[in-house]
């Protein structure tokens, strides 16, 4: 276990998001970004590995320059290196185009043992990027991982599926997406926070990654928006107002009438 890479994402702070009225995509440049809450788990897991195996932790994010504070946040939690993948050509990427960029950046960091990501991002909720990136790298992926330990060239993980909790032996290197529900998250170190202020991430563009334009951004994304429309709400309702006691009584009467509650 020598190097662990963590991919994090900046998501618009709820309430600050502006939506483009034409395309109905998020105006990411104008939004205030916060660390995707689920990526906290990936960072925490990486730091636990660092505590135990003294490995190097490299944190990567793809996004506009206003994502730099998130990298510094990761640094203050214990990350050693920060990389920002930033290029206008990346804008509008779907999960495939995003995974291409991440996979290339990760591949350039070889040799590494593990890539950790949050289970999903709260702005997209697709959970696709970790397995998709793994697939492009030709690596195994395990999703919703709760525990990680290392035994020689293998990593032992515990994951929760729809049916069971499984203990799995996986060959390294591997890509893991981490459950959002950990029992503990360490606070940032004040000392590192101060240090981070003076540090800048390594910034890589499409050209630095030798990625051709036609595979990137909106152009390189095979999923395309055909149209967007507003779903009209049918207004049909009856409104009851009153004290909770009164309303509870009326509701019980209604439920009885509808034969939902019988005594």
């Amino acid at each position: 276990m020598d190097k662990v890479i963590v991919c994090i994402k900046g998501v618009p702070k709820p309430g600050t998001v502006k939506v483009d009225p034409e395309t109905h995509t998020l105006k990411r440049e104008s939004a205030e970004l916060i660390l995707n809450p689920m990526d906290r788990s990936a960072l925490e897991m990486a730091m636990r590995l660092k505590d135990k195996y003294n490995c190097e932790v490299v944190v990567i994010t793809m996004g506009p320059p206003n994502a730099v504070p998130l990298l510094r946040e990761a640094y203050s939690l214990g990350a050693d290196k920060m990389i920002l993948l930033s290029d206008r050509l990346f804008a509008g990427s779907d999960t495939l185009a995003t995974s291409r960029v991440l996979a290339r950046a990760i591949s350039n960091l070889k040799p590494f043992s593990l890539v950790l990501m949050g289970l999903k991002s709260i702005d997209g909720e697709t959970a696709q990027v970790p397995p998709e990136t793994a697939s492009l790298l030709g690596l195994p992926s395990v999703t919703n991982v709760k525990q990680i330990s290392v035994e020689g060239e293998k990593v032992i993980v515990v994951r929760e599926t729809d049916y069971s909790e499984e203990e799995i032996e996986v060959d390294l290197p591997a890509v893991l997406s981490v459950t959002p529900y950990l029992d503990y998250y360490r606070p940032p170190s004040f000392k590192r926070m101060l240090e981070a202020r003076k540090l800048d991430p390594l910034i890589l563009s499409a050209q630095d990654l030798a990625l051709p334009e036609e595979l990137l951004g909106l152009k390189g994304s095979p999923t395309q928006v055909h149209s967007v429309f507003e779903k009209k709400i049918m207004e049909r309702g009856e409104i009851w107002e009153g004290s909770p006691e009164e309303l509870a009584k009326r509701l019980i009467d209604l439920l009885k009438e509808k034969e939902i509650f019988k005594n």
Binding site: V17, V19, T25, L26, P37, T95, L96, S99, G124, E125, T126, A127, Q128, P131, E132, A134, S135, L136, L139, P140, S141, T143, N144, T161, D162, Y163, S164, E166, E167, E169, A174, P180, P222, T223, Q224, V225, H226, S227, V228, F229, E230, K231, I233, M234, E235, G237, E238, I239, G242, S243, E245, L247, A248, K249, L251, I252, K258, I260, F261, N263
Partner: protein, 328 residues
Amino acid sequence: MEEIIIAYGEYNNGKLHPASLEILTPLYDIAERLGKKLVLLLLTEDFERAQSLPELKKALCHYVWIVSAPELKDYRDDLYSEVIIELSKREMPYGVFFPATFQGMSLAPRIAGALQVGLCAHVNDLKLEGDNLLMFRPTYGDNIIASLYSTTIPIMATLSLGAFVIKENPFSPQISKYEMPPEFKWQSKMKIRKSKPLIKEPSRLSVAKIVLAGGMGLKTKENLALLRELAKVLRAEVGVTRPLCHAGWAKEEEMIGVSGVSVRPKLYIGFGISGAIQHTLGMENSEFIIAVNTDKEAPLVKMAHLSLICDAGELIKSLLKQLSRESN
């Protein structure tokens, strides 16, 4: 070429996941209209057992293909996806679709990555416009839906749980074993050491007759516990909105909406739920909708058949009190 559409039949421990049958409903219609054949694809280590599943005889598809090998005993993401990638390269399907289950969401992106094709998530409706297959999902903005298409073949998507109603096939599909080419490597970088079944009841949310749903307007975890008590009294199932899952108050299986499950009960009561489209798409087909909210302008209040304007927690307490009096 592109003559078949594949639906992933999630088969685990002798059972077919019902969500795999749900997704057949829209896909069969599309296959018929395009003159293609819908294939339900199962991966298993036991062909005989899988083949005799009673559900398969009524599955709404043209063919059931079963890939069987001892190596498929456990669900291993890399090997399972490799099988479907190889099969897709040979059969050149027009589309490959998955239910948004744990397996579906971990397999589909591996396959899309390897085939370098697009993959849509949270799809809760599919429509043909000419030859173009449009996939619908909510997007940013108030009550906004986007229709998407894929510029690559096979078209791929994960479909929201419960978004489609299972329909039976009046005919029986043809069930056969699908042979992988002899050179296929049945190898995996994963080995399942232990598996401990989750001690949880299978979620009955999607088939519940009464759903009591809680949102941020419940304010406290205690109020959610009271809602669960109320559900017991009314023999209802409890559902929640996403922020309650994020707060760690509820499990994701209980989340109603495009990223969770869709429900269509006779009665849905939303306690302190604003009615964001990601949620309402998962409950709009309920027969009777009641909203409990302090805000008359909340979208769920507008779409409800009946709205109670009051504090959700207090209403639950009053309901519990009055109902316990009645049953005594």
